[in-house]
């Protein structure tokens, strides 16, 4: 078995690249630490001095508003200096290689790189080449992983539902292209969720996905029955152009979450969405804004979770 590139020889978390391969204790430690940071984010002064003097570089090779902003807020609440680089618009278009870009930023004395990239594995490549005191956090790579989103999803579920062992979690939508789904499935399995279901049309569910430890449903109604947690995925518009889907309207007819369909789940079910939402495509406004929705708390929790990840990877010699 190859060494886990996220952990050092002592088993400490040095980079966060994927939830896959993280020991259960590490996930639980991140969630428990985030819980303490949630207390900080409720104060008037929402700042602690942990990362004072450290520099966090947000390297976004792919556009994102929410994820980049929450990483920036998290870093600032840890007293770090934050530098945002929207690289889609700069060096890459001039032909600079990924590792050259990182080497240049390293020469500017970076401590943490937060990386989003359209190519799966890009954060791994960077993590293999950074200096020992530099840390890499994957903020979404291709179709592969989005570990901080997965962790904030786990945090949200734990916040409302406590015990994973009794939970049925239904993930609905474009499983095939979703790094969010992949990260969450690994996390739920590691924490011992009772059942993880993926629901979607055949064209959007990868073959062999059962190997990840999930039950596949193509009928939304059947899949929602008795679910404790429903995670709606964003239907990316670009999928619509190909042969994968007929139209947004038809998708909503079959897989949109409406109040009537939500009623099939447990009475106290929670509805999550990683954002940004397409109202009327994957989710009805009445559900998105309804009493079961925890979509906005997810965003708030995401800050505490990212504070926890940054302060755990960057701590210690």
């Amino acid at each position: 078995m190859p060494a886990n590139p996220q952990l050092d020889a002592q088993g400490r978390l040095r980079h966060l690249l994927s939830i896959e391969g993280l020991p259960r204790e590490t996930i639980e430690r991140i969630l428990a630490t985030a819980e303490s940071f949630a207390g900080v984010t409720e104060r008037d002064i929402k700042k602690v001095p942990l990362l004072r003097g450290k520099s966090v570089f947000n390297l976004f090779f792919e556009p994102s508003t929410r994820t980049r902003t929450t990483f920036e807020i998290a870093a600032k609440r840890l007293s770090a200096d934050v530098i945002n680089l929207n690289i889609a618009l700069s060096s890459q278009t001039k032909g600079e290689s990924l590792l050259d870009t990182v080497a240049n930023l390293s020469a500017m004395q970076a401590d943490i790189f937060v990386v989003r990239h359209a190519s799966s594995g890009a954060p791994y490549l960077i993590a293999r080449h950074v200096k020992p005191h530099e840390h890499v956090i994957n903020a979404g790579d291709g179709r592969h992983a989005h570990p901080t989103q997965g962790l904030l999803d786990l945090y949200t579920i734990r916040h409302y539902k406590k015990d994973f062992a009794s939970l049925t979690v239904a993930i609905v939508g474009d499983i095939a292209h979703s790094r969010v789904a992949r990260s969450l499935i690994h996390g739920l399995n590691t924490l011992g969720a009772r059942e993880v279901r993926v629901i979607g049309p055949q064209t959007l569910i990868p073959t062999g996905v059962e190997a990840l430890g999930v039950r596949v449903f193509h009928d939304l109604r059947a899949g929602l029955r008795e679910a404790d947690v429903i995670v709606m995925l964003r239907l990316q518009n670009e999928r619509m152009s190909g042969a994968l889907l007929p139209s947004a309207q038809e998708y909503f007819m079959s897989y949109g979450l409406t109040p009537e369909r939500l009623a099939l789940a447990k009475p106290d079910a929670i509805v999550m969405h990683p954002g940004p939402m397409n109202r009327g495509v994957e989710i009805d406004s009445a559900v998105a804004d309804g009493p079961h929705s925890v979509i906005l708390p997810q965003v708030t929790f995401g800050i505490a979770v990212r504070m926890a990840v940054m302060s755990i990877v960057a701590g210690g010699a």
């Binding site: 430690r29 630490t33 303490s36 207390g39 002064i45 602690v48 001095p49 942990l50 701590g315 210690g316």
Partner: protein, 166 residues
């Protein structure tokens, strides 16, 4: 081997000393973990009406760069407005003074207290910072390679324990 003080036996005298300084703005904050146990006891003995605050200074420690973040930081909960209060800051053992410095830094992120007094069950000397306690249960000298810890038994009784420092 130094004889350790009897933690339970120190409590009544310490509580009596604190009672003399209670005022309308007095509030108590205990530092996790030992200081929180001690503060729970003192808070009850004094019958303070302002609810007890509990603080974990993990996010304010000065050795983060060397030691990293401790494993299970508790959530700091201060259920009263710090502004204008006379704070009794409670810890089990006073040693280098670094914990107290961190606690004061965290406390000021909640507001500006009128005063802070430090209450400890044991002062073992060895200060590395200009910090002293106003209320001390017992004073003792210990070698540097020993760590003095407060323990709480299953029945809630407090006792001191000596460990080898790591």
């Amino acid at each position: 081997m130094t004889a350790l003080p009897d933690a339970e036996a120190l409590l009544p005298a310490l509580a009596a000393e604190l009672r003399a300084r209670l005022g309308p703005q007095t509030a108590m904050i205990g530092l996790y973990t030992g200081g929180a146990w001690l503060a729970e006891r003192l808070h009850a003995m004094l019958g303070l009406s302002v609810p007890l605050g509990l603080m974990d200074i993990a996010f304010y420690r000065d050795d983060y760069a060397r030691q990293g973040l401790k494993h299970d930081p508790k959530r700091t909960r201060i259920p009263f407005d710090v502004e204008g209060r006379d704070i009794l800051l409670v810890d089990d053992v006073l040693y280098t003074g670094r914990t107290v410095r961190a606690a004061m830094n965290e406390l000021f992120d909640y507001g500006r207290p009128r005063s802070i007094a430090l209450v400890v069950l044991a002062d073992r000397g060895g200060r590395q910072l200009p910090i002293c306690a106003q209320h001390v249960g017992a004073r003792l000298e210990l070698p540097e390679d020993k760590r003095l810890r407060l323990r709480r038994d299953a029945d809630g009784r407090l006792r001191f324990e000596l460990e080898d420092a790591r």
